[in-house]
């Protein structure tokens, strides 16, 4: 079996992750990634690539290598603590139907 579709990344422009705030009042949301020689040019390229139709009012670019992420294998220990804290959700509390506005 040839393995020629696996190549090590070249020492070229680093990868940036791009986050766009769709409009005022919303969080920045991850929209994709791109390569650029530095942050300033990454921002410039992100504007042309991800916001050609007013998709955003603000852009963040973050070097992908600076993102620290939980690994899928760790999902149990990471997310379990919230699993057994059902009292954090409003639906945990039964309220009679005739109590208004709650």
């Amino acid at each position: 079996m040839s393995n020629d579709d696996v190549t090590p990344a070249r020492p070229e422009w680093p990868l940036y992750e791009v986050f766009v705030r769709g409009k005022r009042g919303l969080n920045h949301v991850h929209v994709g990634s791109l390569h650029a020689p530095d942050g300033e040019m990454a921002l410039h390229n992100a504007r042309n690539l991800y916001t050609r139709r007013n998709e955003g009012v603000s852009i963040w670019v973050v070097l992908a290598e600076n993102v620290t992420a939980s690994s899928p294998d760790e999902k149990d220990p990471y997310f379990a603590p919230s699993g057994d804290k059902v009292y954090r959700h409003p639906t945990f509390y039964p309220i009679p139907e005739d109590v208004p506005h709650i």
Binding site: N3, D5, V6, T7, P8, A9, R10, E12, W13, L15, V31, G32, S33, L34, H35, A36, P37, D38, E40, M41, N48, L49, R52, R53, A69, S71, P72, D73
Partner: protein, 324 residues
Amino acid sequence: MSTTAQEAPPGADEALQADFDAKIAANQRIEPRDWMPEAYRRSLVRQVSQHAHSEIIGMQPEGDWIATAPSLRRKAILLAKVQDEAGHGLYLYAAAETLGVDRADLTERLIGGRQKYSSIFNYPSLNYADVGVIGWLVDGAAICNQVPLCRTSFGPYARAMVRICKEESFHQRQGYELLMRMMEGTEGQRAMVQDAVDRWWWPSLMMFGPPDVDSPNTRRSMDWGIKIDTNDDLRQKFVDMTVPQAEKLGVTLPDPELAWNDERDHYDFGEPDWDELKQVISGNGPKNAERVERRRAAHENGAWVREAATAYAEKQRSAREVAV
């Protein structure tokens, strides 16, 4: 083997495979850091990079007409459309990179003739009516193909398709509108539209790939959720969508067998020339060599821009260090 698969103790492979299968069965998305079977990853790399290459090469047939657009309005529209296609290519290269491949390497494979792109872009665009017909039929066929892929099982690919589909409807509508204007024009303009339709109709049907009987990987790709409909189903859907549009436009689709079938509730249509498709896919279409050569020239002529940007970034960095 794979740059994304996690190291696993012996025997854990079955558990990982079972977990993967369960996610697919539950219609959940696979994300880049998840374990995935090597064959799934390789199929996706091939599919996504071919798709990316198609967007990039797809700029050429229309790009040829930007400089000679008949009005400033048409020029601005065509520029925006071709720029979108470049964007589509980049969304898809970014999705491919999450599978552990490198964009620069994919580009080299394209210009080295080692990876393919859609057969449709190996046909010539002869005049401005072709710009309209490409938007209507070629982008129309691309939409048929791409809308179901918004639900594909690999997260980054599905998300790229969502962005792309939002932009494609402008592409198809600008083409159809251009043709409507031409059909309101002179006899000569109407003849140009009909001629362009005659040339692009069959190649558009071939965009969906070979018939299902000759598409051995379809079943597996559908099981993996990286293909949603079969080639023949998509082709049928496209024909059904397009015939009423052609009638409204006042053009004739060049297929004497085209007829509504009440029993099937679909249009019947003739068989595309599959030998022609084979020829075009294997590099012998009218424009294959020219398209790849042009891409190579653009890549090589752009080298100084990439080098200048790198040098500029380096200079800025050292200036900042001095300032600190």
